[in-house]
């Protein structure tokens, strides 16, 4: 459609057009995403290649101090007057070396060795272990046992990840050091003035301000989000579970075994079946939870904001209070209210109808429990939608509604034909976030039903369990199947990440970032 044709549509049709276009473009965008992913990987390696080329070139071209800086950090800077900067480089090197010698080497050297397990007095060699031996048990002369713990596989893995991350950062500093060494050498040769320490610091508050702003958050995120994440991803490739518990036992590398179990649909494995079923319910749950909240929340918001309705603040407050009460309090309370025996709702029903058979809201059939969690989720979620959509609803151009009324559209029709498409269009980012939030909505399921009613056919899961609560049960529950939980986590992550990257980069907000500039 040409631009001129688009302009001639009435506003009504424009939205319809945009709306369908969004979904038409979706497959293309998915393809583009993977193409982009491939390109990014290629770029990455090209950049590394280029980096090495530059690294060599600087070494050849530089003088003796530049060359020395390749071994002893900061020499070139110090010789040419940048004492403090040079010292910082040198200190980094010293710190890294002592970190490696006194801490890291003890762990990273044991990351993949042949370990020894003692079973029934016999020593067995186990290849691909993290660590040599877990513990030794000896007895003193008077019969007191003394246990000496040697290698802890989990700590070996964790601290090895730490070491690798530190090494990568160190390597980046090393490259920066060689660059800086060469830069001052060139500047000196060309007779330019070399900026002092103060001048360099000043740059961090202007042209390099982003480094100042980002470094602390990045450090914290790197340490407490990225590092544990890598650790957990690696767990999925080990045998870490109930029978391989550190510190008493070592665990080993297992390759893709755990993923194999999860997707072994043909083999009749309970794990694969549970995974498939729960993945299905997770998607259904996320769709229902997201859209029920969204649409119903918008309807309530429209009612509150309708012209001529008084006490708007009161109505809004009635709903919004639910947002303010911490979720685990309101959900535990809800679980109590819906309980079969002595729950408040059942008491109320008994008072009204006089029936003595309580309704099993949460522990009846699979269907009733699932409907209950979706309804409770509406109770929890609608207030958020009211908060978010109220402002935008006011911004829908009034002439849209007027033209619709002239065309004879009733309130329902103008909702489905104007409000909904408009809102969908404007709030896509919010919708995506809440969809992904619902895929990972641990609280509602865990605190309400705990996954129940239980299903004897599933591997440690119930009918209302979604993947993330199953993952929690496997980690913190009696199965202690850490490796499987990590593998599930990775699969869920891949789905969520792909979904959000594609859709977010499709939305207008990502493209029109500079709209206001």
């Amino acid at each position: 459609m040409r631009y001129i044709d688009y302009m001639q549509l009435n506003p009504f049709q424009k939205f319809g057009y945009n709306f369908t276009q969004f979904f038409k473009k979706l497959p293309g965008n998915i393809a583009r995403f993977f193409k982009f992913l491939g390109r990014a990987i290629v770029h990455f390696f090209v950049a590394i290649g280029k980096g090495f080329a530059g690294y060599g070139k600087r070494f050849v071209k530089g003088d003796i101090f530049v060359k020395l800086s390749y071994l002893i950090f900061g020499v070139s800077n110090m010789v040419r007057g940048q004492i403090i900067k040079g010292l910082i480089f040198l200190l980094t090197e010293a710190a890294y070396i002592s970190f490696m010698i006194f801490f890291a080497w003890n762990y990273i050297s044991k990351i993949n060795v042949t370990g020894t397990a003692v079973v029934g007095g016999q020593e067995i060699q186990v290849p691909h272990s993290l660590g040599y031996i877990a513990k030794r048990e000896v007895y003193t002369a008077d019969g007191f046992p003394q246990t000496e713990f040697v290698d802890d596989s989990m700590l070996i893995l964790l601290y090895s990840v730490l070491t690798i991350v530190v090494t990568i950062i160190f390597f980046a500093i090393y490259i920066a050091n060689t660059k800086s060494a060469y830069k001052v050498y060139e500047a000196k040769k060309n007779g330019e003035t070399i900026p002092g320490f103060k001048a360099e610091i000043k740059a961090f508050f202007d042209e390099k301000f982003h480094i100042t702003l980002m470094s602390l958050p990045c450090l914290l995120i790197g340490c407490f989000t990225v590092l544990p994440l890598i650790f957990m991803i690696l767990i999925a490739f080990t045998t870490y579970d109930k029978s391989h518990l550190p510190p008493g036992n070592l665990f080993q590398w297992a390759g893709f075994n755990n993923f194999g179990q999860l997707v072994n649909f043909a083999g009749g494995d309970a794990k694969a079946r549970t995974f498939l079923d729960l993945a299905g319910w997770t998607i259904i749950w996320a769709i229902f939870a997201t859209f029920s909240n969204y649409i119903l929340g918008m309807v309530v918001a429209l009612m509150i904001n309708k012209k001529g309705i008084k006490l708007k603040a009161l109505w809004r407050t009635l709903f919004v209070v639910v947002v303010a009460v911490p979720q685990f309090v309101s959900l535990l309370l809800m679980a109590q209210i819906l309980a079969e025996n002595g729950g408040a709702l059942n008491q109320l029903i008994e008072m009204i109808t006089g029936s003595h058979t309580p309704i099993k809201f949460l522990n009846g059939t699979a269907l009733s429990a699932r409907i209950t969690v979706i309804i409770v989720n509406i109770w929890v979620g609608i207030p958020y939608t009211i908060l978010i959509t109220s402002g935008i609803l006011m911004n829908i151009p009034a002439d849209l509604y007027e033209s619709a009324t002239i065309d004879g559209a009733g309130p329902v029709k103008s909702f489905t034909k104007i409000t909904l498409p408009y809102m969908l269009f404007v709030t896509t980012p919010y919708l995506i976030t809440s969809f992904i939030g619902n895929i990972n909505n641990f609280n509602v399921i865990y605190l309400l039903t705990g996954g129940g009613p239980s299903n004897p056919d599933y591997y440690n899961a119930g009918y209302t369990d979604i993947l993330v609560t199953w993952l929690f049960n496997l980690t913190m529950g009696e199965k202690q199947d850490y490796k499987l939980a990590a593998a599930i986590g990775i699969l869920v992550f891949i789905v969520c990440a792909t979904l959000s990257l594609i859709t977010f980069n499709m939305t207008k907000s990502a493209k029109d970032e500079e709209a206001f500039s």
Binding site: V118, V119, G120, G121, Q122, A134, K135, R136, E137, V138, Y139, T140, A141, D142, G143, F144, P145, Q146, T147, F149, K242, S243, L245, P246, P247, G248, N249, D269, A270, K271, E340, N341, G342, Q347, E350, H356, T357, K360, N363, G364, T365, G452, P453, S454, N455, P456, D457, Y458, Y459, N460, G462, N473, M476, G477, E478, K479, Q480
Partner: protein
């Protein structure tokens, strides 16, 4: 000159110290066979005081220990730890007592054993996990022999595991108390005679418009549905899989059917709820809609129940249930609480001795008297404290018809779903495939 002599002397002392250290280690590994409890200890059976010698503390003086116990026990535990400190005042022991319920104790130990308690109470179903994680220290053979001689066999047996470095069984925890459930009832509703049969109990409750409560949705209680049919747990194999006896599937299915039938026949009387609902259910106030006539509860709740019921308080072993025309005794799970010694303890000797003290006759008797905890020590079992306590007597009577809960695999969730399935409204006991359900549950335990 003097200086040189002093230096040489100091050096010699240092060498001697190192040598003795080395010797200790060396002799240690050679006498490793001491770990398997042999019964050649002359003081075995004579109790704590006869077995703990001053030398047992070794060089540990000024030991700092941390002890975990559940909330209900915390006051008494503190008192007992104080008594222990007093007993060995010259050792200058300090003990920090921290409340920690038995089920979380094991989990927290596995998160970080080094930060955990030196001596801690835990439930026996966690025993195999703690053994797997290598957290429990084996018990000194001398104490183990005495424990074996003074405590009932079942409690000692489940505290044993194979010591991997010797290849023999060794004691890895001190038995603390027996822990199980039995029938509690209101004598004005259920007569002592009725209390012998499940059908009669339900009938009596129904007639008086009272409820019968047990927690079907909890593996600890739900396992009775299969145990009564002859299924038994027989520990874990070397791959940590749950082993079962050679049970007859039809008999177990028949037992499941009988229970399921009662649940459905007495709908409105038979109520599944957490055991916490039972003690309050016996209290009769005008506002309470749910009134309880009988229930299946454990000794941790009996103090509250007997207070509520007064002279009408009744406790007995579990009743019989009619399976295919035959009255069959209901079998239950019988758990234990144990006292473990952390293998990471900085003061392993003092920790062992404290654990031993807490498992001794003296401490078990205090727990029986003040908390109503059922003892494992034979002398306390025989004492008047136990004989006069209806609840503990009921528990001990039930222990004959029970499966000890030790070295169990992940059975709780599968049994829980089994229980829920028997109770479910859409399960028709006449047509339901109980054998199929059983097969699924067994498969999931080892899945």
């Amino acid at each position: 000159m003097k200086k040189i002599v002093a230096l040489v002397l100091a050096a010699m002392m240092l060498v001697a110290a190192f040598a003795s250290c080395g010797e200790q280690g060396g002799s240690g590994s050679s006498s490793g066979s001491n770990g398997g409890g042999s019964s050649s200890f002359e003081n075995a059976g004579k109790g704590f005081d006869a077995n703990v010698a001053d030398a047992d503390f070794g060089s540990e003086s000024g030991a700092k220990l941390k002890v975990w116990g559940p909330d209900a026990y915390i006051d008494l535990l503190t008192k007992q730890c104080d008594a222990f400190k007093e007993k060995y005042a010259d050792k200058k022991i300090t003990i920090e007592v921290v409340p920690q319920s038995e089920d979380t104790a094991a989990t927290m130990m596995q998160t970080d054993a080094k930060a955990g308690a030196d001596v801690f109470g835990f439930a026996s179903d966690q025993f195999s996990n703690l053994i797997n994680a290598g957290i429990l220290s084996p018990i000194n053979a001398k104490y183990a022999a005495d424990i074996e001689a003074t405590n009932n066999k079942a409690s000692v047996d489940i505290s044993k595991a194979m010591n991997n470095s010797t290849g023999k069984d060794a004691l890895y925890a001190y038995p603390e108390t027996g822990n199980g459930y039995f029938l509690v009832y209101d004598k004005s509703v259920v007569s002592d005679e009725d209390a012998a049969s499940f059908e009669a109990i339900l009938e009596a409750c129904k007639k008086n418009d009272k409820k019968f409560i047990m927690d079907v949705g909890n593996g600890y209680y739900a396992c009775m549905f299969v145990f009564t049919g002859g299924l038994r747990l027989e520990g874990l194999d070397k791959d940590n899989k749950q082993k079962f006896n050679d049970y007859d599937e039809d008999e177990v299915a028949a037992s499941m059917k009988a229970f399921s039938k009662l649940m459905h026949d007495y709908k409105g009387t038979f109520m599944s709820d957490a055991v916490t609902a039972i003690p309050s259910g016996f209290t009769s106030t005008s506002t309470r809609p749910t009134k309880v006539g009988a229930g299946i509860d454990g000794n941790w709740d009996t103090a509250g129940i007997s207070k509520a019921l007064g002279k009408n308080f009744g406790a007995a072993k579990l009743p019989t249930i009619n399976i295919d025309g035959k009255d069959t005794q209901i079998y239950s799970m019988y758990g234990y609480k144990m006292i473990g010694v952390n293998a990471n303890s900085k003061y392993p000797r003092t920790a062992q001795i404290l654990g031993y003290y807490l498992a001794s006759e003296e401490c078990q008797k205090q727990r029986a008297e003040e908390l109503g905890w059922s003892p494992t020590n034979n002398a306390v079992v025989e004492s008047d404290v136990v004989k006069n306590d209806v609840a503990i007597s009921a528990l001990i009577a039930q222990s004959e018809f029970s499966i000890p809960q030790a070295n169990v695999g992940p059975i709780w969730d599968p049994f829980k779903s089994l229980g829920n399935k028997l109770l479910a409204d859409d399960t028709d006991p006449e047509t339901f495939d109980f054998a199929g359900l059983l097969e699924n549950v067994i498969k999931n335990i080892n899945g």
